[in-house]
Symmetry: C2
Subunit: 411 residues, 2 copies
């Protein structure tokens, strides 16, 4: 049995016309001899409508009940699409998360998939040519409905592909694929034919919102090649896959950025064991993700600690720091909202030197001051003033030759 | 454990304000020491919106997929109401049809309940004070979602009360209870304190749309006393219960009517064994319900056959009769849309003579011609011209003294 997984997002199922478009994609797959698992999101806008409805009824709605409410969105999508397939003479049925036995943990609102009843799904595929599976939803081991968090339908698609050992996994969206950088910011941005899981993870976490980050982790873990492509054209899109030698020849794959950054500096903290824990543990306990962290060399037994967080968490973080001030022994806390992150990403960095200095040189040439730096094996990130963001992205895109395939300049 | 079942219909859950009203009803039950099973319908208008949505996608949507679509309505209601209960500090959770294991047959769109997992529900009631159960929905033995047909939430409520041996079963609606006749038609109509299951069945089938007919059958079968009452006032409503001696003292409980009637006469059919079957079997096969049937005494080996059907089925029925004309040997088929049914109903008839003649006399006094008559043990029905309907209802209501409790005139 040749199996294809096709996942379509909210804009792809928003209304009858769009659903007729995706029906053509499914029919084309059937003609090629595939059995299809079609994973659908809720119609565009529906998820937000349901969140709004829930908030209208309760200021602090229980996550478990929000999930019961939210899952109605995908449930409607799969029923309607199954009807459209019937009308085209296709043997199809809808499958909800609990029917597929997509079992998750009990973290309502952001549950993780633990297992899928592949035997049941394979039996269904013997009877039906298309299973229209509700994305984003699962069922806890206690039988309660759960959801996988924003963009969770991507994870549903990849998890089904992994569980059923599908031959193809296609994630359809409203963009052609993964770009070297944001095309809205840089006119020479180029669609990538291939990208490694690790690079994609860096892109996702930086807000290049093509794939839910967890779905990429899933794809990497189970080695599922994922093709990201557009619902609205026939472009082959971008293949997200295992790193190979060809990829390593390319120095840098793309430039990512994140505007949702806020820098906080805690001045003059005691430089002694445990001070970092004293600062960051209460913040982590409050569910706030700290991104970059820099600690300067100490003077007179005291140092400055600088870190970045998402802007929505600023108020809460300042409260925590004010409360814990005595324990930390800090003199002053400052924050800056006019900052952003820009990163160069590429698995090629592992084998090539000089990417960092090329990045720093490029920024210097544009007179852009670097506020913070952090590095990983395949990424270099600089925090800069927000007003320079577009300039920095375009300059770096040009400096690393990303406008032409294979044309990356070697350091 | 004292258990109360409270079912609220679409108008009772239509929006936040209404839901706050029904929350007060639930909190009052908790104060009395009950554990509550609250059964909810979809918000008023939602079911029709979903039907419309389904039809927009497919002219002949598969019933199984329509059910997947439809059940989202109740699912949203129970999630939202559970949130409201949490906000009032109540230990509550939503329970969907498949979670309660309300197992039905596979007749999508009009499924019948086969069993309920009472052990599971009782265990949930140990943990929670209120279970907010989605009405109208179940799950087939193959694990597919089903719905119980229009008004099916009533049946969910009664079935849960029966299965859990509840102490009280309340069906909340937008009227105060069951009336002696339609108050919109007869200003002296009076709310009944009690009514027997059999009488209620006759009322339901005549379009007094207070309770889904199947829920009354269920209540009768399992002897569940059902209190029908209004969400919007504190009136104790009407208790639908087993017949008792007190009820039998009352000659007539009420006057029902049905405007959705159409009379068809097949003239001059052969009066021989099998002719009735030849006429009615194809009609029944087409899913058309024939209501009253009258066969005149034959002359010269031929007879006239008259029957009534719902007006929506007229065209189809005439087609069937035209097709089968030769087999039946009929000369002519006539139909009349300007007719309606009026009935007097009462378990007291079983023991009292003269109800029929009193009805006929009353209609004669108003110069209303009777077109057809049919009788059952507890009901006498006359087909009359539609223009006389209001007059007939008011005259009969008056003739049987229904305006004053216990004041029925004895024949």
């Amino acid at each position: 049995m040749k199996i294809i997984v096709q996942k379509f997002g909210g804009t792809s199922v928003a209304g009858l016309d769009r659903m007729l478009t995706i029906r053509r994609k499914v029919l084309a797959a059937l003609e090629k001899g595939y059995k299809a698992m079609v994973v659908l999101s809720a119609m565009a806008g529906e998820t937000n409508r349901l969140i709004e409805l829930g908030r209208q009824f309760s200021k602090t709605p229980a996550a478990a009940e929000m999930d019961v409410l939210m899952t109605t969105g995908e449930q409607a999508s799969v029923a309607l699409f199954a009807m459209l397939l019937h009308d085209a003479g296709v043997k199809a049925r809808s499958v909800l998360g609990h029917q597929a036995e997509i079992t998750t943990d009990c973290m309502f609102g952001k549950a993780r998939i633990m297992s899928i009843n592949t035997k049941k799904l394979r039996n269904m595929l013997l009877e039906y040519d298309v299973l229209v599976v509700a994305g984003f939803q699962g069922v806890s081991c206690h039988g309660r409905l759960t959801t996988l968090g924003r963009g969770g339908s991507d994870t549903t698609g990849v998890a089904l592909a992994a569980a059923l050992d599908a031959d193809v996994c296609e994630i359809y969206t409203d963009v052609k694929g993964v770009y070297t950088t944001d095309p809205n910011m840089c006119s020479t941005a180029r669609k990538l034919d291939r990208i490694s899981y690790d690079e994609m993870l860096e892109f996702s976490s930086m807000g290049a919102k093509v794939l839910q980050i967890r779905s990429v982790e899933f794809a990497k873990k189970y080695n599922v090649p994922v093709r990201v492509r557009s619902t609205f054209c026939d472009d082959p899109g971008t293949l997200v896959t295992q790193e190979d030698e060809l990829m390593e020849d390319v120095l840098v794959s793309g430039i990512a950025y994140d505007k949702d950054q806020c820098r906080i500096t805690v001045f003059n903290v005691m430089d002694c064991p445990g001070v970092a824990a004293a600062i960051f543990s209460p913040i982590a306990d409050a569910g706030i993700l700290v991104d970059m962290i820099v600690q300067n060399t100490s003077r007179d037994g005291r140092t400055d600690m600088t870190f970045t967080i998402s802007r929505t968490n600023l108020e809460k973080t300042l409260e925590i720091l004010a409360r814990d001030n005595k324990d930390i022994g800090a003199v002053e806390v400052q924050h800056d909202l006019n900052v952003c992150k820009v990163s160069v990403i590429g698995v090629g960095m592992r084998n090539h030197l000089g990417v960092a200095s090329m990045m720093f040189t490029c920024l210097r040439n544009e007179n852009i001051n670097i506020l913070m730096i952090s590095t990983s094996e395949i990424k270099i990130t600089c925090l800069i003033e927000e007003k320079y963001l577009e300039l920095a992205v375009r300059a770096l895109h040009d400096a690393f030759g990303l406008d032409s395939p294979g044309g990356d300049r070697v350091c």
